[in-house]
Symmetry: C2
Subunit: 425 residues, 2 copies
Amino acid sequence: MREGLDVLEAQQLILDETPVLDRETVATRDALGRVLASPVESARTLPPADCSAMDGYAVRVADLAGATGAAPRDLEVVYEVAAGHTGERPLAPGEAARIFTGAPVPEGADTVVRQEDTEAADGSVRVFVDPPVREHIRDAGEDVRQGEEVLAAGHVIRAPEIGLLASLGRSVVEVHQRPRVAILSGGDELVEPDGDVAGGRIVSSNSYTLSAQCLDAGAEPVYLGIARDRPEELERYLRAGIRADCIVTSAGVSVGDHDYVRPVLESLGCELHFWGVKMKPGFPVAFGSFSGPRGPLVFGLPGNPVSASVTFEQFVRPALRKMTGHAARFRATILARIDHAMTKKPGRLHFVRVRLRREGDEWVASTTGNQSSGVLRSLTQAHGLLVFPAAAEALRPGDSVRVQLLDDGFLASETAGLDELPTPA
Amino acid sequence: MREGLDVLEAQQLILDETPVLDRETVATRDALGRVLASPVESARTLPPADCSAMDGYAVRVADLAGATGAAPRDLEVVYEVAAGHTGERPLAPGEAARIFTGAPVPEGADTVVRQEDTEAADGSVRVFVDPPVREHIRDAGEDVRQGEEVLAAGHVIRAPEIGLLASLGRSVVEVHQRPRVAILSGGDELVEPDGDVAGGRIVSSNSYTLSAQCLDAGAEPVYLGIARDRPEELERYLRAGIRADCIVTSAGVSVGDHDYVRPVLESLGCELHFWGVKMKPGFPVAFGSFSGPRGPLVFGLPGNPVSASVTFEQFVRPALRKMTGHAARFRATILARIDHAMTKKPGRLHFVRVRLRREGDEWVASTTGNQSSGVLRSLTQAHGLLVFPAAAEALRPGDSVRVQLLDDGFLASETAGLDELPTPA
């Protein structure tokens, strides 16, 4: 087992051990956010035939040569074609068909004139334009051709993908499975939120934070509960998680006398790959895996609430994203100016909780204050984690820093941003 | 009723008519992504007492004056305090208590020395440091004080908020209700995905796309089904949606002869506020509301798949976000360089489907190709919508443009971005 890795080394080691999960078949309408496990080929051509893009009249261009507002042409309207219907017979010279958006263009017609360029009369239509061939006609196969690959394996399913799959008649789709994550808290001091906190007991909030982080990452949390500090109880709880894709424990994997998780995990067949990552908060992180193809990955996170959440973000979340089939496994980062000085000893990478605000074209980052790893509230006030690199010792006001965003929705805006073109640079 | 509004005018008019929904009480663990409807005050002080931040020994500073590695001090270990327990009695001079992370510091002790700075013996401990007062002690109330407001109304609940609420013993929380959105397709040509598409019929894909867009916006879709082109059937379907917070129809609200939705809506008591927005795709958008405090907002979207999805993004999504209590109601936008020329007539704002790629420090936008409003597949290939402003006529290669991102997860990264500080500018 290795000790004291750099953050990047630890992330790489974890991703190397992390499998992409196998496939399952789900209903298309439940597939939002999932990742395709196999390419989707179309069994249909869409649109299946040339069809009208407007409400108007299907006509023959030859009948309208030279037509203008001042010199219109009158055509006989022989039938109408609504979407979902087809023309009764081919159009003959001098004939028009009333046509609606999406309706197949009848045989014989070679263009569509918009309703606005016509005037309807009893049984006939007056046309005021001389249209080009195939105007306002959507070509058969313009969207999709039969047999074509329309979505590649690895494609993330968003709303338009669900609509496209529906339009191809695909009511189910093959995606990668969502990881099940068994979450275990350990400690005699812990109670559930409705428990009695007298005598120094505290709520096991980590299981709540970590479960929500699993949901946010697209995984399915399975909360095993609070194991007391006894090896036999820990073993019983861990066995309950052994068929999950990941086990995430918080607390219990440090050097304290009361920490039984590590020996119990090893006795169950888990090989620990590393302990300790050069970061703050969060040094005492452990990572292991069970031998054999079906054993879960095991993440031993620190017990302090902020350390647990920050180490989940750095190590568990990328693994869960890989399992789910995502290529982009890491949180978005942005560049920001820091508005105050910070110093630290070199050696550990610090993740500093910061708030972000916009000043002109730039983001400005300010610390949330108290960076104690017990202060969960500071994380609720933070927009992101400022990356203070391991080797660095000082940041000066105005320095450019990278900030890892803690929320995919953070960049949503209070304004639409549609007002004008940006100033050319 | 007004006609032919600018996009921003239409958005503003809609938001002015849109209520923030009232409150409901939900389980804290189900509250991810919801918005607080009332502030949260703490009934607890956290931590409730001074407690140890490390595994080590609670001691009296006065006993260790001048202690070093070469000149250690021996103290008698009189009991141990684990987290969730309290000390048996005050510490007397010359005494130490074994203490674990999170455990209350016993009376009499005024600092904690780390285990690493000690050597345990039988019944005593040898200490190699002369610590300052209150080292490795977390102050009572460091995180939260009783009676303090810890989260404000309007705060969005993310994972750390769920952990914080749990740690305060709050198993339920007051949030704004999620809007229910009744979705209706209309047209004789439409079938469900498993339906027969012979004879020019097409799948009602809009209801699938729009339902997924509702979920993505945090709303609850209620799919009413496909109404045929008959006023009495439309009325029956619309009545089924009248107790929702929004009704979203696609197709049926244009100038075509077969469009009955508008008169039917008016006959039910809906006042239409506008019809037509100067944009492409998507001009034929209608917006209305029912008089009285409980009537739904009504959005009549165009029938073309891309137009329906793009107009949902611009008009329905911001309204749903407002209903849910969000202050940030609009999609994130980024600046990008365009890599090809584009022209259009002035007058309508164009939303151009584009792919984005990173080149050095910049984003570069390229059109997905065919911008026909029937080509849903182009939307599955798009990362965003390039904003080609209404008044503009031409964009040249290299011009800076604003791109509305279609997916909150788009900026997620394939790399962690932790390697080094950005180059100072």
